[in-house]
């Protein structure tokens, strides 16, 4: 049996999906976590089930892309049984979707998800009465409780065996609903006469289509293949009733159903909490936000993350590295093979692998934010700022997830209501400093700035956000106008994040990280090693030996980066290799600069090798910062590019890549010259230069505006 999980956003669809099909899909306590449909097969006893998880919707008339997925899936798949999940705390609103789903005439069951304990529930439901009233099976479960889910599994098994369920047509509901309002009933009859033939021809669900035609839903109407005459008649019929009346009718019906089934509602508000008085306080909200972000930053880079990273480095990487090298030495005395293991495997992989704890902690912190319910408050707070730069407050989700992984973040931009803001938000996600760039900051930062690398790393993160917001203004003013978008967002309640959830996030991300290191990174490292150690004639030259393939290529590219201060062949080829995945920048540096003979791996060794001018890759403090800035901003990794292409199309992908490269180049040039001035001439001169630069920029923009904006807007300043 095929089951589709449908429901309002944040009602626990994916949680139930994970329990039922034993998966580990991404969940969270905010609206729009799931933006794609997911399918999995599982077995209950001897019955095969196919479970589909769909993005949350408010109704079957979608606004955003991810809502379209749900509607299209339900309209296209006629053999699917629908599991409608509703939140026990918000039945009234959730039942609006139920009325639309029941019109589809598919076998349907209602699952009331009780997300909190019995006493705190806002709605007290009489299950049997509700079953009678709606004519469908009703189950009450707590999707986070395995015992409840097991009970549900047994019930699903019974349903799959019964033929009455498979042929269920929701007649009781449809009769009741159509008799609800005489005016609507009459109009529906008129429409039925008008388009009955088309519905049969296109093989659509009659009741659903009739009601959607009454609502003047253009998508459904376009599916019907109506003649011009029919269209005109339909417009006339629809003109007799307003959208307000139709919605009112539905809510009246829902109210009656709830009343007749003896449902009681407490006089409380779902999601309202005393915490909000502090978190959304006029004066405290911003400081709290800053503190939360700093705590995340501190946990990742310093205290716990750093400690664990060093522990891992000392115990595993060094120990394991030496063990591997010892093994290699005992097996073969070939210098090339030994070099390969020492450089490509131990050093290249070790340089990234030791960051496992830090990356996992970063993801756990983001996960805690997601599950606590704070994210929606953040979107509410920051929408003020985001609206002014042409984004929606929901962009907060995308940008925050961008700190974890850009590819995932691009996907989450689907929740935007219009196409332009989706493109814009997806294009801004890669500017957030993703977790793959984290090793580079630590290695370069500790090499050149010692104890003050805290501020340098923090500045990188801030720079990413600032550049993204500025670019958003640029896009809004030029070619991606989205105007005033709607920002409609529900507030989920605060939740205590369970240890189990944290554990799951940690394990999931650790796994992903290890898979990445184990597959992608190893293969690229091997390629980079071969390219940097062999000449075009395929002779082993070692890194210092002479003209390796990479060195030749690097010398071609290097002049581009010379103005930025890192015009060495090693640094520029590392950037090219970094396009595959950003971790590779560090591993390439480790491999190109590596002192292979001693075996083992140490951050300090890499760091100190960077300051040594005789090495292929060396930096000055100024060029190190410029390099970090460039890596932060330049074109995203291939995974993100593929995702962007899928989400926003080839044209915008190209724009995004080029703009990112240009922005990275310009900003690192500015940073490089500025830091050089600070070091050589003192900070006052630098401020003076910055001031001059600002004035020129301002004048430039003013001149452009003055000459392009020739239309007289009719202000009172001049008397034209």
């Amino acid at each position: 049996m095929k089951l589709a999980l449908v429901g309002n956003p944040n009602t626990g669809k994916t949680t139930l999906y994970n329990w039922l099909s034993a998966s580990s899909e991404h969940t969270g306590n905010w609206h729009g976590v799931t933006v794609d449909f997911k399918e999995k097969q599982f077995k209950i006893k001897d019955e095969n089930f196919e479970l589909v998880d769909l993005p949350g919707v408010y109704s079957l008339s979608p606004l955003s892309f991810e809502e379209k997925i749900t509607r299209d899936y339900l309209m296209a798949n006629k053999d699917v049984a629908i599991v409608n999940i509703v939140n026990a705390n918000n039945l009234y609103r959730n039942f609006y979707l139920l009325t639309e789903i029941l019109m589809l005439n598919r076998p349907t069951i209602l699952v009331i998800n009780k997300t909190c304990s019995e006493e705190k529930l806002l709605y007290k439901v009489n299950k049997n009465a509700l079953q009678k009233e709606l004519g469908i099976k009703v189950f009450e479960v707590n999707a986070e409780n395995p015992r409840d889910v097991n009970d549900l599994k047994n019930e699903l098994y019974k349903l799959a065996k019964s033929s009455t369920f498979k042929n269920q047509k929701n007649e009781i509901f449809n009769q009741k609903f159509n008799k609800n309002n005489e005016k609507i009933e009459n109009l529906l009859k008129k429409i039925e006469i008008l388009i009955n033939f088309n519905i049969k021809e296109q093989n659509l669900d009659k009741n659903f289509v009739l009601n959607k035609c009454l609502e003047n839903d253009q998508f459904v109407i376009s599916k019907l293949n109506l003649s011009n005459f029919q269209k005109d008649e339909l417009v006339k019929i629809c003109g007799q009733i307003s959208a307000e009346e139709i919605a009112k009718n539905k809510y009246d019906f829902i109210g009656r159903v709830l009343q007749n089934s003896g449902t009681k509602k407490l006089n409380k508000t779902y999601g309202k909490s005393k915490i909000d008085k502090v978190v959304l306080n006029k004066y405290l909200s911003i400081p709290i936000f800053v503190i939360v972000m700093l705590v995340v930053f501190y946990l990742t880079f310093f205290s716990v993350g750093k400690f664990l990273s060093e522990l891992l480095l000392n115990i595993t990487v060094n120990g394991l590295g030496e063990f591997v090298l010892g093994l290699v030495k005992s097996v073969t005395s070939n210098q090339i093979i030994y070099d390969f293991f020492a450089v490509a495997i131990v050093q290249g992989l070790g340089s990234v692998f030791s960051f496992l704890p830090q990356v996992v902690i970063l993801f756990v912190c983001l996960g805690v934010l997601e599950h606590s319910g704070y994210l929606s408050r953040l979107a509410f707070m920051l929408d003020d700022v985001f609206a002014r730069v042409g984004l929606s407050g929901k962009g907060v989700y995308t940008l925050l997830m961008g700190f974890g992984c850009s590819a995932v973040a691009c996907l989450s931009a689907r929740t935007m209501e219009d196409k332009n803001s989706q493109i814009k938000t997806a294009m801004l996600a890669p500017y957030m400093s993703c977790s793959a760039k984290l090793p580079l900051y630590v290695v370069l930062g500790s090499a050149f700035f010692g104890a003050s690398n805290v501020f340098v790393i923090l500045a990188m993160y801030l720079l990413g956000v600032v550049v993204a917001l500025l670019l958003s203004v640029f896009y809004e003013k030029t070619f991606l106008k989205s105007g005033k978008q709607t920002f409609i967002l529900e507030f989920p309640p605060y939740k205590v994040v369970k240890l189990k959830t944290i554990k799951n996030i940690a394990i999931l991300n650790a796994k992903q990280f290890l898979v990445r290191v184990g597959s992608l990174l190893i293969s690229v490292n091997v390629i980079v090693w071969v390219l940097s150690n062999f000449s075009f004639a395929f002779k082993y030259v070692a890194i210092y030996g002479g003209e390796s393939i990479m060195q030749t290529i690097g010398k071609f590219i290097a002049p581009i980066f010379a103005p930025l201060g890192f015009g060495s062949w090693g640094a520029s080829t590392a950037l090219v290799a970094g396009l595959v995945a950003k971790e590779i920048i560090v591993s390439s540096i480790a491999m190109i600069n590596g002192v292979s003979q001693n075996g083992g791996y140490n951050h300090l060794k890499i760091s100190s090798s960077l300051t040594n001018a005789t090495n292929p890759i060396c930096f000055t403090p100024a060029s190190a910062i410029a390099y970090m800035v460039f890596c932060l901003l330049y074109s995203p990794c291939f995974a993100t590019m593929a995702m962007l292409k899928k989400e926003i199309g080839k044209k915008w992908l190209l724009v995004s890549i080029l703009v990112q490269f240009a922005v990275a180049y310009v900003i690192s040039l500015i940073v490089y010259s500025l830091v050089n001035v600070v070091i050589n001439k003192g900070i006052l001169v630098a401020i003076f230069y910055l001031f001059l630069f600002g004035i020129t920029l301002f004048a430039f923009i003013y001149i452009i505006k003055h000459f392009t904006n020739k239309k007289c807007m009719g202000c009172k300043r001049c008397k034209k």
């Binding site: 609103r93 609006y96 609502e215 309202k272 929408d383 003020d384 920002f487």
Partner: protein, 104 residues
């Protein structure tokens, strides 16, 4: 004719006709004029409401006779947090401007 229509600026053509009548009444208002912790009842949408947004707001429960409380307003006042049928929903002020009703 509905009294509200006379006063609403979206129905400017009638405004002059009914101005006298309206002046005597308490001013009718759109929801962006609500202040925190004030109660209001939804009556409908102003003429300028785009179809898509109107439909979404109706789905979310802004139907006629719904009781609404303004719970909170964001820092710069651009986003409003409504308590609607027992749950919290935030919308921008320019969207709230599309909804009209009566203040308690």
């Amino acid at each position: 004719m509905n009294e509200f229509f006379c006063c609403n600026k979206f129905y400017g053509q009638w405004q002059t006709q009914c101005l006298k009548k309206c002046e005597s009444n308490e001013p009718k208002f759109t929801f962006d004029m609500l202040k925190p912790n004030e109660h209001a009842v939804v009556w409908g949408f102003t003429g300028g409401a785009p179809d898509k947004i109107k439909r979404r707001l109706l789905e979310l429960g802004f139907v006629k006779d719904t009781w609404v409380i303004l719970e909170n307003v964001s820092q710069m006042g651009d986003v409003m947090l409504f308590n609607l049928n027992g749950y919290l929903l935030s919308i921008r002020r320019d969207v709230a401007k599309l909804i009209w009703g009566a203040r308690k």
